[in-house]
Amino acid sequence: MTSVTDPPQGSFRLSMLLNDTRYRSYTFQFIALVLLIAFMAYLGVNLVRNLAAAGLNISFSFLSDPAGYDINQRPIEYDSQSSHLRAAMVGILNTLIVAFLACVTATIFGVIAGVLRLSSNWVVRKLMSVYVEIFRNIPVLIWIIIIFSIMTVAMPAPRAFRGDNATSSMLFDSFAFTNRGVYAPAPVIDGAMGWIVIAVFIASIVGIFAYRRFATKKLYDTGQLLPTLWPSVAMFFVPTILVYFILGRPITLDYPSLQGFNFQGGLHLRGSLIALWFALAIYTGAFIAENVRAGIQAISKGQTEAAASLGLRPGRIMNLVVLPQALRVIIPPLISQYLNITKNSSLAIAVGYMDVTSTLGGITLNQTGRAIEAILLLMLFYLTISLLISGIMNVYNNSVKLKER
């Protein structure tokens, strides 16, 4: 039999704030909080006073002034007469573009390398160890500069493609690898017809998922196994291609061609984007590989052996038994790798990629001299985007984590 004794209900005395263990921690936390606030207030007052002494003020009105400079990679309409705010938006989009590309690529590299590091093949295993150890132990800035320098020095300049006896030629007449980046054909959507083709394509992808879900349900309900591979492939290609030809090929490719000083037309992946993208991907991929390996090794060997004794092949053991459980261990550190990629993308400045640190925190800051305002806005942006990424990834983590019933 247990008995619960209430704590003594004595009247509260001031000395209990120090002597009573129930209140003491609150007292010290309160003191620490007051000191912290006082320190921040001191810094704030100091800043305001020094700004006033220098005759400066905090003002964000510079954001609506014309920026006056040009940006090479413009996902949205922008010219030198657009506002600084617009320039910052272009920078933000460029940051998001490189961060997204690098996150996807790093995940692919990381998962492949992580799984292969546990391969039973000695050569593959050691090769992956070498990849991980080399790439994660050299600073990412060095990788960015290495890739960029190699591209600049080793690739031919566009003028090498000119003339009858050109020293370089385009791959399949559609891809040009130059030291200014890679030029590739770009799809041109021709009016409403083109959009119909795209809509059909998206619809068929949705259809594939719906069909697979239906097949799984059928399997669970009736035990009847429907084929999934070839219907999926058929659904992927057939409707889109049919519509494409029926509507008279409304989507064409815009091929790059050498005109004047540069290749014109097509899609231009600048050297700075490629360098930043791949450097971030291979560098962070090495960390993700270690996360994946740790996640897989966290699954008890008994699981693999049990699956093997049921007759599953190694590939299926990995996909159906090990990885779904390993994801629970992999996702949380993966979130911080994604955050690292996003924040490391600010190293873009080293190769002149116009991300938000280069536009708002670089040229705008420099031309207007509004350092404090620009840096505050940058902090706000990176904080927002980081919290957003970790929020989204946490939702995903909740969906794969162990459901306790």
């Binding site: 912290l36 921040m40 810094l43 704030g44 100091n46 800043l47 020094n50 700004l51 002494a53 220098a54 005759g55 400066l56 006056g68 400079y69 040009d70 940006i71 090479n72 010219d79 030198s80 007469q81 600049t152 020095v153 031919p156 300049a157 566009p158 003028r159 030291n179 200014r180 005109q259 004047g260 000083f261 540069n262 014109q264 050297g271 400045i349 080293a350 002149g352 116009m354 280069s358 670089g362 040229i363 420099n366 031309q367 207007t368 001299g369 350092a371 404090i372 840096i375 505050l376 902090m379 904080l383």
Partner: protein
């Protein structure tokens, strides 16, 4: 994390804005060295030689100020700055003066709170292209890829020039002159643009300078000069008149060769006497020794000597005096009188 970053920003901001206190002259005297901001390396203007000793036209101005204030032209700590870091370095007090071919503009003077003390080089923005590109005018550069240093006035001039001529270009932003040179030589950009003097200096460092030409268009006015923080007028006076002393010395025929002789005893020219401290109290008015200007001129010679030695026609850079000749020779150099 949020708090730490915030404190960090406030600290940076505090540094950036806070230390514009008066008394730079006293600080420099007490420290015994002058902290002078220069480029990260532009041959002829400021670059370290094989022994790591900084040399060049802008460096000469730094050394003259150090000699005037401290009596020792070697008492200079050279702080390399990029186009982006230079103003923060000056505003934060990391450097006492900036002599880094910086263009005097309204907003830098008024809005950024700096004090341009004079002009040591009248420049303009030009374009450098490989000769085999077959271009003879900047107006033919439609669609070209242009390497440009970020955080400079040239960046804005470039945008204006191409817009007003209704031609397009692709900017490749670079951080330092060395990076620009590398990109340009590798053919990653068709054109390199910066101040014409900088182009001449950059081209001089090429393996085959003759393979590259500077286009005839000069698209802007770029008066380059040393600058200090706003609000410390005593210090601004010291730097301003050290520069003027170099210019006046050339006009008055005072050179590093004859300065010992001229300063030994009062000469027949009263302005030379006042400049060299053998007459009047000009040095004391600045809070410096009477022979301050003599030390400044002796450090590297007068303006003309500095020019000829570092960037003149007999150097690899090979710049003509042009606008930078004395007013008596049809140039723009005109020092106010020492009186």
């Amino acid at each position: 994390m949020k708090k730490t970053a915030f404190i960090g920003a406030l600290t940076v901001a505090g540094l950036a804005a806070g230390m514009a206190s008066a008394g730079t002259l006293d600080d420099v005297k007490e420290r015994g060295t002058l902290n002078c901001g220069v480029t990260t390396g532009l041959v002829g203007f400021a670059s370290p030689d094989a022994n790591g000793v900084w040399d060049g036209f802008d460096v000469g101005v730094c050394r003259a100020v150090a000699a005037a204030v401290l009596g020792d032209s070697d008492a200079v700590e050279f702080v390399p700055t990029t186009g982006k870091t230079r103003f923060t370095a000056l505003a934060s007090g990391e450097i006492d003066m900036l002599a880094r071919n910086t263009t005097w503009t309204f907003s830098r003077d008024v809005d950024l709170k700096f004090e341009f003390v004079g002009i040591n080089y009248y420049d303009g923005q030009g374009f450098l292209v490989p000769r085999d590109l077959g271009v003879s005018s900047a107006k033919e550069l439609d669609g070209a890829t242009v390497c440009i240093q970020t955080g400079t006035t040239t960046e804005l001039n470039l945008a204006d020039y191409f817009r007003s001529n209704n031609i397009s270009y692709e900017p490749v932003p670079i951080e330092t002159n060395a990076e620009g040179q590398q990109q340009y030589l590798a053919g990653a950009c068709d054109v390199y643009t910066t101040d014409a003097s900088g182009l001449a200096a950059t081209r001089a460092a090429f393996e085959n300078p003759a393979d590259h030409i500077v286009l005839p268009e000069i698209v802007s006015k770029e008066p380059l000069g040393p600058l200090v923080r706003h609000g410390d007028n005593d210090w601004a006076d010291v730097v301003r008149w050290s520069l003027n002393a170099l210019i006046a010395a050339e006009e008055l025929g005072v050179t590093s060769a004859n300065i010992e002789e001229l300063a030994a005893a009062p000469t027949g020219n009263p302005e030379v006497n006042r400049l060299l401290g053998t007459e009047g109290e000009l040095g004391a008015m600045l809070g410096l020794d009477a022979n301050w200007a003599m030390m400044a001129i002796a450090a590297g010679g007068n303006y003309g000597e500095l020019f000829e030695k570092n960037i003149g026609e007999n150097t690899p850079i090979g710049l003509a005096r042009g606008l930078n000749a004395q007013w008596t020779d049809g140039g723009l150099l005109y020092s106010p009188p020492f009186r």
